[in-house]
Each structure stands twice: as structure tokens, then as C-alpha cells.
């Protein structure tokens, strides 16, 4: 009897410690501390505009059903395996958008996936890639967004299934799958390669679509860039590693740069689906930047496309 009670007490204590531990471990500031912004030079709005295009922010945040890609009122529904997300208003509207945010708030969101209330943000917002942008670049991007028109109105709340609707759980996800930190150039590689690696993995977030994901929605590192089901469940995104059969093994650097500028593949097919908007965005970058991305992509090892899920 005594033994049993002791056992019970121990169990309860253990559970409390585990819960407390979980709570601590999933604290946004602890799990994913954002870089300190510190003092920065005056923002370069032109660079911010380039990063805005490279990042494809408008693809998710522009108000749907109208043509102006600079009206960031949000509201677009993003289907996923966990439920439907609604991209929020990130226009500089002071009540409904991010007009009241300071630069540190913006860096917290972009580099650490932490919202203004200190809450975790869902990785449906690809901060997993954007975090590679250093605070200076994020300050430029923020300054550019602040020049855009404020848009009134808020997006509907996300409609996620239990338990995915518990934001705190994203803390556990981050512990397992999120790596923080800005881009660190590889001194052994050329300047162009480093610029390309930064644009592809950071603002361009190419791997977010061109990879397959595990059951928790995290990119499987071994098959990064090797293609995967569309994150929104529509079709299959092709392999862009140097695989000869399905990937870009047979494409020249010039052909990859051409695709990013005009959308034409070497066989003069024209890319469609979500890639069409990626191309419109990449077309706004310089020829040098597109060539740098091609340079980096040509250096990726060949990885075979993972088996496709059975078509429904």
C-alpha cells in the first residue's frame, strides 16, 4: 500500500517535471532566439525590393482576387496536411498589419519564427529558409514593406486540426527540426556560388517546394531539392538536383538562368503551377543573381527522386 502510494507520487512528480520541462523547452525565446538587431546603417530600400521579389512574399500575402501584388492584406487560404492556414495581413496598416512593428519584431518573425506576442509561428510561413537573411537584409526588406500601401482587414483564423492548433507544440517541432542562424558563406567557394547558395536557400526558399517532407511536415534532409509532392497537395514538384533522369543534370547554367528569367525549359515548355509566379519574381532580379543561382544549383549532388505517393 505504502509502496503503491510512493509509486503514484513519484509518477505525478515525474509528470509535473516533464510538463514543466516541456513548457520551458518550448518557450519561444529559448527554443529559437532571434539574432539581436543592434545598430544598423540606413536601410537600402532597393535591396529590400529585390529580397521581397526573391522571397515571393506576395505569393502568399497579397490580397487574393485583385492584381496589385503590393497590397499585402493577406487572407489567402493555404491547404496543408494539418489543416488550412490563412496568410496574415503584413501590410504596414497599424491596426491590422505590421505597421506598429519595430525592426526587432520583424527579425524575430523572419529569423526565429516568433510572433509579436512572443508566440511560435507555424512553419507554413517559410522562416525555416528566410532565417538565413542577416538582420541588415531583413531591415532592408522591412523598410521596403513599409513603403507599400496599408491595407485594412484581418485574415480569418487558421483552421487546423487538433493537436496542430496548439501553437506551443511548434516549440517541440523547432527543437527537432529548426536550425537558426544567418547564412555563413563558404570561403572555399566563389563569390557567385555563395550569392547563389544564399538566394536559393534563403529568400528564394526553393527547397520548401522542391523537397519531400516527413510526417511532421519537415523537409527530409537526404532528399532536399530532389522533388516531392506539392505542399498544398496539388501534383508533384520536380527534382532540381543534378540527377540526370529527372533533375537538372542535363541543363546548362545558361538554361537554368533562362528558366528563372522567362519560364522556358530547354525543350521550350513553359513552367506552370506555382512556379510561374516564382519566375515572375525571379525575373525582377539581375542577370548576375540568376546566373549565381544557376551556378549553385549546378553544384548540387545528384539525388534520385524519392518514390511518389500513390496518385489519388
Amino acid at each position: 500500500m505504502l509502496l503503491l502510494r510512493r509509486l503514484l507520487v513519484t509518477l505525478v512528480l515525474l509528470a509535473a517535471v516533464a510538463l514543466g520541462g516541456f513548457y520551458l523547452l518550448t518557450d519561444p525565446r529559448l527554443v529559437s532566439p532571434a539574432p539581436e538587431v543592434g545598430a544598423l546603417p540606413a536601410p537600402d530600400i532597393e535591396n529590400g525590393k529585390v529580397l521581397f521579389a526573391a522571397g515571393g512574399c506576395a505569393s502568399c500575402h497579397a490580397t487574393p482576387g485583385q492584381d496589385d501584388r503590393t497590397r499585402l492584406g493577406g487572407g489567402l487560404a493555404l491547404a496543408s496536411a494539418f489543416g488550412t492556414f490563412h496568410a496574415p495581413n503584413i501590410s504596414p496598416h497599424t491596426r491590422d498589419g505590421i505597421g506598429n512593428w519595430g525592426i526587432q519584431d520583424f527579425v524575430d518573425a523572419m529569423a526565429a519564427g516568433v510572433g509579436r506576442q512572443g508566440e511560435h509561428l507555424y512553419p507554413a510561413f517559410p522562416y525555416t529558409s528566410y532565417r538565413l537573411m542577416p538582420p541588415k537584409a531583413l531591415a532592408d526588406l522591412f523598410a521596403y514593406i513599409r513603403t507599400l500601401p496599408p491595407v485594412e482587414g484581418r485574415a480569418p483564423a487558421h483552421e487546423l486540426r487538433f493537436p496542430f492548433n496548439i501553437r506551443r507544440l511548434v516549440g517541440g517541432w523547432k527543437l527537432l527540426f529548426f536550425e537558426g542562424g544567418s547564412f555563413r558563406p563558404d570561403p572555399a567557394r566563389s563569390e557567385a556560388w555563395n550569392r547563389g547558395a544564399y538566394l536559393v536557400n534563403g529568400p528564394g526558399h526553393c527547397a520548401e517546394c522542391h523537397s519531400s517532407r516527413n510526417g511532421f511536415g519537415a523537409i527530409v534532409p537526404a532528399t532536399r531539392f530532389a522533388g516531392g509532392p506539392d505542399p498544398e497537395g496539388k501534383g508533384f514538384v520536380p527534382n532540381i538536383t543534378q540527377d540526370e533522369a529527372d533533375g537538372l543534370g542535363k541543363w546548362s547554367k545558361e538554361e537554368i538562368a533562362e528558366l528563372l528569367k522567362t519560364g522556358f525549359t530547354p525543350s521550350f515548355d513553359s513552367v506552370g503551377g506555382p512556379m510561374a509566379e516564382v519566375v515572375r519574381n525571379m525575373a525582377q532580379l539581375s542577370d548576375a543573381d540568376r546566373a549565381a543561382m544557376a551556378e549553385y544549383l549546378k553544384s548540387l549532388p545528384a539525388v534520385a527522386t524519392p518514390p511518389r505517393p500513390q496518385a489519388k
Partner: protein
């Protein structure tokens, strides 16, 4: 006798009609491949990699216009899937929009039908090829 002939003729006609529609997926893909080949030629001329040739240039726009006319008839309800088609379900959900996209492609191609110089070609070719990605964005999905 005459009746048999009629029936046979009728059968033959019916057969011809089904033959034409026998494989709409293969047919529309062939048409689009032709459009792709024409675009390769056009891009070479527009970039100056190939010499400008007015007859060739006009031929490109004719290929576009012909494809734009025929394409909308090659999407029967029975051809939603199969044959590695990349046609998106949206084609059948929004027939009006799909047909309008081809009508616009045809009109833009028509604007280039009589080009005689490189500058005119570049402008018309640029406008016509905007339709490729715009339509593929909405009405195609890679599987």
C-alpha cells in the same frame, strides 16, 4: 442495298469522328509540342541567335493560332486523367476561363501574323509568349 451503303457510310463517318478523338490527350500534347518547337525558333530569332526571316516569323504565329483554335476541342470529360497528362482539373471546372485563355492566345498570335521586321516580331512574340506561363500557371499541374 442503298440502305446498307448509308449505314456503312454512317459507320465510317462515326468511326472517323471517334478516330479523331481516339486519343485527345496524345493529340493535344502533340499540338503543344509543336507550339514549343515554334517557340524555340522564335526565341532564337528574337535573341539574334538566328537571322530574322519574315516567312518563318509569320509561320510561328500561324502555328500558335492554329493550336489555339484546335486545343479547346481536345479536352473531353473522359480525358481528365491518363497518358501522363498534365492537364489540371481546373480545365473542366472553369471551361469558360480556359476557352477565353485560348481566345486571348489566338488574338495575340493574330497580331503577329503580318510581321515584316525584327522589331515588330520581337514585340508580337513577347506578347504572345506571355500566354504560355499564364495559362500553364492555372490550367496545368505536374504529377
Amino acid at each position: 442495298m442503298i440502305r446498307t451503303a448509308f449505314v456503312l457510310a454512317g459507320l465510317g463517318l462515326g468511326l472517323a469522328a471517334t478516330m479523331a478523338q481516339a486519343d485527345p490527350i496524345a493529340e493535344r500534347q502533340q499540338l503543344m509540342k509543336g507550339v514549343g518547337r515554334a517557340t524555340r525558333e522564335g526565341a532564337a530569332m528574337a535573341k539574334g541567335d538566328a537571322a530574322f526571316d519574315a516567312a518563318k516569323a509569320q509561320g510561328i504565329f500561324k502555328t500558335y493560332a492554329d493550336a489555339a483554335k484546335t486545343m479547346p476541342t481536345l479536352f473531353p470529360e473522359t480525358s481528365r486523367t491518363g497518358g501522363e497528362t498534365t492537364a489540371a482539373p481546373k480545365i473542366w471546372e472553369d471551361q469558360a476561363g480556359f476557352k477565353a485563355a485560348f481566345a486571348k492566345f489566338e488574338a495575340d498570335a493574330g497580331a503577329g501574323a503580318g510581321v515584316t521586321d525584327l522589331a515588330g516580331f520581337r514585340a508580337a512574340f513577347g506578347a504572345a509568349t506571355k500566354n504560355c506561363g499564364a495559362c500553364h500557371e492555372v490550367y496545368r499541374v505536374k504529377r
